[in-house]
Amino acid sequence: MSLSAYLIVSAVLFCIGLAGVLLRRNALVMFMGIELMLNAANLALVTFSEAHAELDGQVAAVFTMVVAATEVVVGLAIIITIFRSKASLNVDDARRLRH
C-alpha cells in the first residue's frame, strides 16, 4: 500500500473527530471525537515512522497513547462532575466559566 493511502485515512479520521467536537453538544461524544483525532495523529506518526524506517514516530505514538489514557481519566472525571451538577451532558449548559 502506498504512503498516501494511510495518510488519507488519517486525515479523514481527523476530520471526522474534529467535526464531532465542533458540531455535537454531548460531552461524551465530543470526548470521543478528541480521541479519534489523537488516534488519527498516531496513525500519521506510525506511517511516517515506517516510511523513514526510523522509530521516532512510533515512540511518539506510544507517548500519545499514554497521554490520551491520562486525559481520559481527567476528562471523564470532569464530565461526571458536570453531569452530577447539571443532570445533563450538553456542553452548552455548562457555561458558567466566563468573565
Partner: protein
C-alpha cells in the same frame, strides 16, 4: 616579620611593640562594654577613664623603651586583601612619629576623660559619652598606628563617625543634630580625596604602605605623585577644616566641651596634618602639590584668624583659632623635611594648648551658663583658677618666649623665611593676628564688667527637665587636675621638645635641623616679638577705652566690611549654600518632577491602556466550550496555512 622581630635580642621591647594592638583593642573593648552591654553605672568612671588610661600607660612604656631603641617596628597582624600583586595588610607601624601621636592622643584622651568625670557628673547620658570617648581613642590610635593608607582610612572613617556621634550628643537639640549632619557630609569630601589617592596608588604601584609608596611612585612618574598629592590635600583640607572647607568645625562646637577639646581641637582635626606629614615623600616628588599645601596653609592661617578676630562665641572663636593654628601646621608641612619636623612640633604643642583652653572654657560655660562673648566678661573674680589656666594657654598660644607657641611658631617662621621669604613674612603677620584675637578673647571673657547673671542652669543641657536639675559647677577636683596638667604642659612643653624633637624625628624625615638651642634669637625673632608686644598692648588699650562696637548694636558693627565678613565666617556657609546645596536642590527637584510627572504618568497611562484592552478582550471568554474549540481550530488553521505558505514561497 613579626616572628623574626621576636627572635631579636631586646626581648621585652619587641614583645611589647609586637603586641601594640592592645593599644587599640583595650579602649575598643571598653567602648563595646559601655555602649552595648548593660551594666551598673557604679563602675562607669573607673572603666571609662581606665580604658583610655591603659592605652596611655602602654604608649608611655613603649615610648620610654623606644628612647633607647630607635628602630621602627612593623607588626603584621594579618593579610586583609590580596588582589593580584597588590596586597593590603592589617599591620601597625611603631616609629618615632606614630608613637608621638599615640602619646598625644592617649594622653589628652586620658586627661579629657578625667575632666569629663566632673564635667558630666549630672548628665544622664554620660555613659554613652564615655563609651564614645573610648571608641574615639581606639579609632584615632588605629589611624596613627596604621602602616598603610587603607588601614589609616579605616581609622579615618571611624573617627569621623565618632565625631558625628559626639557633635550630635545632645541630639534632641536641632542645632546639634544639624551640625552633626554637616560634619558628617563634609567628612565625605575628605573620603573622596583619600579614596582617590588610594585608588591611584593601588592601580599605579600596587602598594599602599607608607614606607614603600614614595620610592615606587617616584619610579612611575611625576604626574601621578602630583595627583596623589592633590587628592591627599583635599582629604586633609576637609578633615583638618582648612579654608574653604572649615565651616563644619565651627558648627561642631555643639558637642560637649570635653569632646570639642579632644576631637575638634587636639587630635582628629590634626589627622589631616598627620596625613600630609606621613605622605611627605610623595609631596617631595610633587612640587606643585606641595605649593598647594603651602598656599592652603597660609590661606587658612589668615582666614581662621580673621574669623577668630570677629567671632562672637568663645567656643567658635577657639575653633577658628584651631583652624588658624592648623594653617601653620600645613604651612610647615609644605616646606619640606625641616618644616615637617616643626609641623609635628606645632601639632603636639597646639594639641596640648588648645585642649587646655577648651577645658577652661568648659568650666566657664558650666559656671556661667552661656558661651557668647556678649554675655561674658568680668570672670576673673569669679573663676580665678580657670582664668589662670586659660591665661597659661593664652600666653603659650600667642608665643611668649620660652613657652610652647614661641618655639613652634618661631621655628616655622624661620624655616619659611629661609625657604620662601614671602611665606615667612606672612607667618610673622599671622603671629600678630593671633595675638590680637587671643588677647581680645581673654579681655572680653575675663575682664571688664560682668554682662551675665548667675545662671541657675548649665549652658549645655540635654533636656528641659535635665536643665532644672543642673547645678552651677565651681570646678571639681577632676576638672582642676586635667586643667592643671594641661596648663603646665602648655607652659613647659615647648621648652622640653625644642632641643629633643629634631633629633628624635631624624629617622623619619631625615631633616638636618640646625636651630635647636634654647635661645636662638635672630632679627626675625625680634621682629616677631616686637609685633607681638605692639599688638597685645594695642589691643589692651583699645578694649580698655572702647566698648566693642558690636556690643552696642549688631547693625553698627556690620557696617564695617571686615567685621561683617569675619562674623559671617567668610561666607563659607553661603558659598556652600549657593554653590552646592542650591544647585543640588534644583537638580533633585527636577529629578523628582521627572519621576512624578514623566515616569508615574507614563506608568498610569500604560496601565489604563492595558486595562481597557483587557476589558475588550475578555468578551472572548464566553464560557461556551464549542466557541473555544472553534477559535482554537481556526487559529491552528491560520498558523498551519501560514507555515505552508512560508514553505511554498
Amino acid at each position: 616579620m613579626y616572628t623574626s622581630m621576636l627572635l631579636m635580642e631586646s626581648g621585652s621591647f619587641t614583645l611589647l611593640a609586637g603586641n601594640c594592638w592592645v593599644l587599640i583593642a583595650f579602649p575598643l573593648l571598653v567602648a563595646a562594654l559601655l555602649l552595648l552591654v548593660r551594666m551598673s553605672d557604679s563602675w562607669l568612671y573607673s572603666v571609662g577613664v581606665g580604658g583610655v588610661g591603659v592605652s596611655f600607660g602602654y604608649a608611655v612604656v613603649l615610648f620610654i623603651m623606644m628612647l633607647g631603641e630607635p628602630e621602627p617596628i612593623t607588626v603584621q597582624l594579618y593579610t586583609w586583601l590580596s588582589i593580584g600583586d597588590a596586597e593590603v595588610t592589617v599591620s601597625l607601624l611603631i616609629d618615632q612619629l606614630s608613637i608621638l601621636f599615640a602619646l598625644l592622643v592617649a594622653g589628652i584622651g586620658t586627661l579629657v576623660a578625667i575632666y569629663s568625670v566632673g564635667y558630666l557628673s549630672d548628665e544622664p547620658e554620660r555613659r554613652r559619652f564615655f563609651g564614645l570617648l573610648n571608641l574615639f581613642i581606639a579609632a584615632m590610635l588605629l589611624l596613627v598606628l596604621a602602616d598603610n593608607y587603607v588601614l589609616l582610612f579605616v581609622g579615618w572613617e571611624a573617627v569621623g563617625l565618632v565625631s558625628y556621634l559626639l557633635i550630635g550628643f545632645w541630639q534632641e537639640k536641632e542645632v546639634a543634630a544639624n551640625a552633626a549632619k554637616k560634619a558628617f557630609v563634609m567628612n565625605r569630601v575628605a573620603d573622596l580625596g583619600l579614596l582617590s589617592a588610594i585608588a591611584v596608588l593601588l592601580t599605579q604601584i600596587g602598594t599602599v604602605r607608607f614606607t614603600a609608596v614614595a620610592e615606587q611612585l617616584g619610579a612611575v612618574g611625576g604626574s601621578w605623585a602630583g595627583v596623589v598629592g592633590f587628592a591627599l590635600l583635599l582629604a586633609a583640607c576637609a578633615k583638618s577644616a582648612q579654608v574653604p572647607l572649615q565651616s563644619w568645625l565651627l558648627d561642631a562646637m555643639e558637642s560637649p566641651t570635653p569632646a570639642s577639646a579632644l576631637i575638634h581641637s587636639a587630635t582628629m582635626v590634626a589627622a589631616g596634618g598627620y596625613l600630609i606629614l606621613r605622605s611627605l615623600p610623595i609631596y617631595m616628588l610633587a612640587p606643585t602639590a606641595r605649593l598647594a599645601v603651602l598656599l592652603i596653609g597660609v590661606l587658612t592661617l589668615f582666614g581662621g584668624a580673621w574669623m577668630a578676630a570677629t567671632g562672637r562665641d568663645i567656643k567658635r572663636v577657639l575653633a577658628c583659632s584651631t583652624t588658624s593654628q592648623l594653617g601653620y601646621l600645613m604651612l610647615a608641612a609644605g616646606l619640606g623635611p625641616v618644616g615637617a619636623v616643626f609641623a609635628v612640633f606645632q601639632l603636639l604643642t597646639h594639641g596640648v594648648i588648645k585642649a587646655g583652653l577648651f577645658l577652661a572654657v568648659g568650666t566657664l560655660t558650666r559656671r556661667v551658663g552661656r558661651s557668647d562673648l556678649q554675655g561674658l566678661g568680668g570672670l576673673v573674680k569669679v573663676l580665678p583658677y580657670t582664668f589662670v589656666a586659660f591665661a597659661c594657654g593664652y600666653l603659650a598660644t600667642i608665643g611668649v618666649p620660652f613657652l610652647s607657641g614661641f618655639y613652634a611658631k618661631g621655628h616655622i617662621i624661620a624655616t619659611a623665611w629661609e625657604t620662601i621669604p614671602a611665606f615667612g613674612a606672612l607667618a610673622v603677620v599671622g603671629v600678630g593676628l593671633g595675638a590680637f584675637y587671643m588677647t581680645r578673647l581673654l579681655l572680653l571673657t575675663f575682664t571688664g564688667t560682668a554682662r551675665w547673671q548667675e545662671a541657675p542652669i548649665g549652658a549645655e543641657t540635654s533636656t528641659e527637665t535635665g536643665a532644672e536639675n543642673r547645678q552651677p559647677l565651681r570646678g571639681s577636683v577632676s576638672m582642676r587636675f586635667s586643667l592643671t596638667v594641661l596648663s603646665l604642659l602648655a607652659l613647659g612643653g615647648g621648652l622640653a621638645l625644642n632641643g629633643w624633637l629634631p633629633g628624635w624625628l631624624q629617622p623619619v624625615f631625615a631633616a638636618e635641623v640646625s636651630r635647636t638651642g634654647l635661645l636662638y634669637f635672630d632679627w626675625l625673632n625680634y621682629v616677631t616679638l616686637g609685633l607681638l608686644f605692639v599688638v597685645v598692648v594695642g589691643t589692651v588699650i583699645y578694649y580698655r577705652k572702647v566698648t566693642p562696637i558690636w556690643f552696642k548694636a549688631a547693625s553698627t558693627a556690620d557696617e564695617v566690611a571686615l567685621v561683617r565678613i569675619g562674623a559671617a565666617e567668610l561666607y563659607a556657609d553661603d558659598a556652600l549654600q549657593r554653590g552646592v546645596v542650591a544647585p543640588l536642590s534644583t537638580v533633585s527637584a527636577r529629578v523628582s518632577w521627572t519621576e512624578s510627572e514623566v515616569l508615574e504618568n507614563g506608568a498610569r497611562h500604560l496601565w489604563r491602556v492595558i486595562g481597557r484592552t483587557s476589558i475588550l478582550m475578555r468578551r472572548l471568554q464566553s464560557g461556551n466550550v464549542r466557541t473555544y474549540v472553534l477559535l482554537f481550530v481556526a487559529g491552528t488553521a491560520v498558523l498551519v496555512s501560514a507555515m505552508l505558505l512560508w514553505a511554498w514561497v
